[in-house]
């Protein structure tokens, strides 16, 4: 493990904080939308950690311009996966709400028609 400068440490702590907030929201959050958002916050924390880790070992040697490209590639892949997964989760949530609304209106209809019908 290479040493990290204090600045990078600050970023890492922030990333950990984001992960913690997301974790809290995911476990506590009663609404599904909130839990999906919480998952995104967790993802943001992890990606931030990866961005910071790409700078490791470069803090004391400022002449090196480049950072670790492998991590950038990983983050891009991870972002694509996260975006598509979020889209899928939101689509499922929309379907769920539609189904619930349809169920409600059916129930109301039956209620209006009265028993025995």
């Amino acid at each position: 493990m290479t040493d990290l400068s204090p600045q990078l440490l600050l970023y890492i702590v922030t990333a950990g904080g984001l992960f913690g907030i997301g974790l809290y929201g995911f476990i506590v959050g009663p609404q599904t939308l909130r839990r999906i958002l919480a998952l995104n916050i967790i993802g943001a924390g992890i990606f931030m950690l990866m961005v910071v880790l790409a700078y490791r070992g470069l803090a004391d040697d400022a002449s090196l311009p480049s950072t670790d490209p492998v991590l950038h590639a990983l983050i891009l892949t991870g972002l694509v996966v996260a975006v598509s997964a979020t889209a899928f989760a939101l689509a499922l949530l929309a379907r769920l709400n539609q189904a619930k609304a349809a169920q409600c209106s059916q129930d109301q209809l039956r209620h209006k028609q009265g028993p025995g019908q």
Binding site: T32, I46, D68, F88, A89
Partner: protein
């Protein structure tokens, strides 16, 4: 050869989206070609040892590397064959069960994800495979309409959470070591706090995805809500993917002190899964839920075998672990297909629907009972083989009376829930009348994997040899 196994399902899934009309044909064709190629790969690997491919000629470290040893080629063969069989079943019943057109491309993607997972030896590739597998599995569950959306959404959220935990572990490990390849990583491994945290996070994520006790809560609802062919694929194959990665991590990466610390926990989780999963399977009133809980219980055996393997490092436990995976995959495919066929024909979801099924649908009931025999571990079946390897390993260690007793108790529990269904089926006094004439072909298709699991006992010697050497 490995590239063909990956490209073929992907291409066929894309073409199925273009021409939905011939999708079933394409799916069946792909699955049969893949089975043949996988068989060839298995033969090649067993003759020449494990094969490695670096995609697109990039140097090692940059390229996506695929590695096939005999265990992964065996698992690929199993995946392709089960895909073929389930595809045939789905094609035979798709008019009646109103299976959405989405099933075919999704099953192709499922095969792609699983094959890639069995071949990857790189932490990040494994993450991508896991995500692909999770999303496809959720999409497959949601095929059965509005009722399944809620369990599917729950499954998706937990599965995403599991993958994110795994990804965090990967990020920490990459930050510490700067490599992702498992063999290279293992050579630089230091058993310090950082690597323990990463391993623990990854293990948590994988246990959630593999529905290992105590993180199994999502499985029964999701697997029971899915259409029958989908449940068969999910229970037989998808939960084994994360389990495979878990074994890779702990058998190849982890240091001796880490292994010693975690082994009792794995064995304990396996034990709890066996007992509590069995009790839940015994109590649930719904037929598909019973089979799903039985998956939770049977995964306990694999977990127990993994824990004991880590503790004693005895090759028999490795053989037991993978035999359980193979036998359970075949038996569970039969269980879900047979129960799906019976409940569809007799019209009901409860176990009481099975009443008199030995008279009305003898073939499907026979398939269920035969597969149940393997789940219990009756000789001569694949389940018996696995349990025998486990017991033999324990016996050779000596002084493990507690575990022996537990395995006997778990066997009794599984016998109880299988016989609960079988006894009802033989109650011929007042059978549930079928809604329509039972169809023969789907029942035969459901029977095939059950016959295969009993045939495993005939090839036990080469299988045991192979799996003892290649416990990863």
């Amino acid at each position: 050869m490995m590239v063909v196994l990956l490209v073929l399902p992907l291409l066929s899934a894309l073409f199925m989206l273009l021409w939905p009309r011939i999708a079933p044909l394409l799916a069946l064709l792909t699955a049969s070609v893949c089975s043949l190629v996988a068989l060839q790969l298995l033969l090649l690997v067993s003759q020449q040892g494990s094969q490695q491919v670096l995609l697109a000629g990039w140097p090692s470290g940059l390229a996506i590397s695929l590695e096939a040893n005999s265990l992964s080629s065996l698992l690929i063969l199993l995946t392709a064959l089960l895909q073929l069989l389930v595809g045939l079943y789905a094609f035979a019943t798709h008019r009646r069960d109103k299976l959405g057109a989405g099933f075919w491309p999704l099953s192709g993607m499922l095969q792609l994800g699983l094959t890639a997972l069995w071949l990857s030896r790189d932490l990040f590739n494994l993450y991508v495979c896991l995500e692909l597998l999770g999303i496809v599995a959720v999409a497959l569950v949601s095929l059965s309409g509005d009722k399944a959306i809620k369990p599917a959404l729950n499954y998706l959220l937990l599965s995403l959470f599991g993958s994110l935990c795994y990804l965090l572990g990967v990020a920490i490990l990459y930050g510490a070591y700067g490599v992702l390849d498992i063999t290279v990583l293992a050579s630089q491994w230091q058993a310090d706090l950082l690597s323990s945290t990463a391993l623990l996070l990854m293990t948590l994520g994988l246990m959630l995805k593999a529905a290992l006790w105590p993180l199994h809560g999502w499985l029964p609802a999701a697997h029971a809500a899915a259409p029958a062919p989908v449940s068969a694929l999910l229970s037989a194959l998808v939960v084994k993917g994360p389990l495979f990665i878990l074994c890779l991590l702990w058998l190849q990466l982890a240091g001796a002190t880490q292994v010693a610390a975690v082994a009792p926990w794995f064995a304990g989780c396996g034990l709890a899964a066996l007992l509590l999963g069995g009790v839940s399977a015994l109590r649930t009133p719904f037929a598909k839920n019973m089979v799903a809980y039985s998956t939770v219980a049977q995964l306990g055996y694999a977990m127990l075998a993994l824990g004991l393997l880590l503790r004693f490092n005895q090759p028999l436990f490795a053989a037991a672990l993978w035999l359980f995976v193979l036998a359970h995959a075949l038996a569970k495919a039969t269980c879900f297909l047979a129960v799906g066929e019976i409940t569809a024909t007799l019209g009901g979801k409860r176990i009481s629907t099975l009443k008199g099924a030995s008279q009305t649908m003898p073939l499907a009931m026979f398939a269920f009972a035969v597969a149940g025999g393997s789940l219990i571990g009756l000789p001569p079946s694949g389940g018996f083989l696995a349990k025998w390897a486990l017991l033999q390993g324990l016996w050779l260690q000596g002084g493990q009376l507690f575990w022996l007793l537990v395995i006997v108790l778990a066997t009794l529990l599984s016998a109880a829930y299988v016989f609960r269904a079988v006894v009802l089926a033989f109650n011929r006094a007042d059978p549930v009348a079928p809604d329509f004439a039972p169809r023969i072909l789907p029942q035969w298709l459901a029977l095939l994997p059950a016959l295969a699991v009993w045939a495993m006992a005939l090839y036990s010697e080469p299988l045991l040899q192979l799996l003892k050497q290649e416990g990863l």
